[in-house]
Symmetry: C2
Subunit: 168 residues, 2 copies
């Protein structure tokens, strides 16, 4: 949660701080996803990463919209968790030799990022509703739905094709 947690006194502060945390995370993923698409060897996986890159760009815009709706400054704070998840993805992508094994590892890394976001958006939506900000919750829900769909698509890709090829 970065360096500013000492400023968190109310649920509203926590909500805004979490917005700043996931805003950072989404922006980092906009940088990471093209690299992951580039490394992926399965054409369907490559396409899934590129499709999710476009969605992620929209997620960034939606967060900017929520900051504005809530009257908060658009700002990012460091998020060591997503940095760690992306670092693991980078290291794996750079070092695994076998293409099918690399794809399996990339899917696993991407799903770690998806689940991180699913948790954070889930909390944000719950907190927004409790703060009486159903308008913010509705915008955030669109993104959560897309993160869950991406996670399922990755599971389906892993189970259907890539893992079987890698183990053969």
């Amino acid at each position: 949660m970065g360096l500013f947690t000492k400023d968190i006194k109310t649920m509203d502060d926590l909500f805004v701080h979490q917005l700043q945390d996931i805003y950072y995370a989404e922006k980092q993923l906009v940088k990471a996803l093209p690299k992951m698409a580039d490394k992926a060897t399965d054409p369907m996986l490559k396409q899934a990463f590129l499709t999710h890159l476009e969605e992620t760009r929209v997620h960034v815009q939606r967060l900017e919209q929520v900051f504005e709706m809530h009257g908060a400054e658009v700002k990012a704070v460091d998020c060591p968790a997503i940095d760690g998840i992306i670092q693991e993805a980078d290291e794996t992508a750079g070092e695994v030799d076998d293409k099918a094994v690399l794809d399996a590892a990339l899917i696993n890394a991407a799903q770690a990022a998806e689940h991180y976001e699913i948790v954070r958006y889930g909390s944000l939506i719950a907190w927004a509703r409790q703060l009486g900000r159903n308008d913010c919750a509705a915008v955030l829900q669109k993104t959560l739905d897309e993160e869950k769909t991406t996670d399922k698509k990755l599971t389906s890709l892993a189970e259907g094709r890539i893992n079987m090829r890698a183990a053969s």
Copy 2:
């Protein structure tokens, strides 16, 4: 995925490496959960952390069992993702003033750890089955089931009590 990813050539290597990654993560959580229980102010949340601490100690033992079943050395590799998640939890726990807001933040941090584990165990189980290690998959499934139960319990605690109190 630590420093040893250059050694990953096969699905078997990836499986063992992922075991080493989650072994590190579980051991870090054994250290982190008592601190989170200590910081939590809601008695049910405190108890949930302590219960999960006991489960997490068993998860460590189960991983040692799977290493042994698979004929691999019991070893941990650095896992920057869980380090980042725990760092966020520590910072939040140390800095938030309001008790109910602190509890909401602690739940959110714990759920990030749970989801990280849910992804990693999900992949491990899928990979174990593809490698013909249904015996390992069965042991890992027990842990995955417990992680999912803990995640649901945390959601229930958040929705039922703590968030409402914090927003009041």
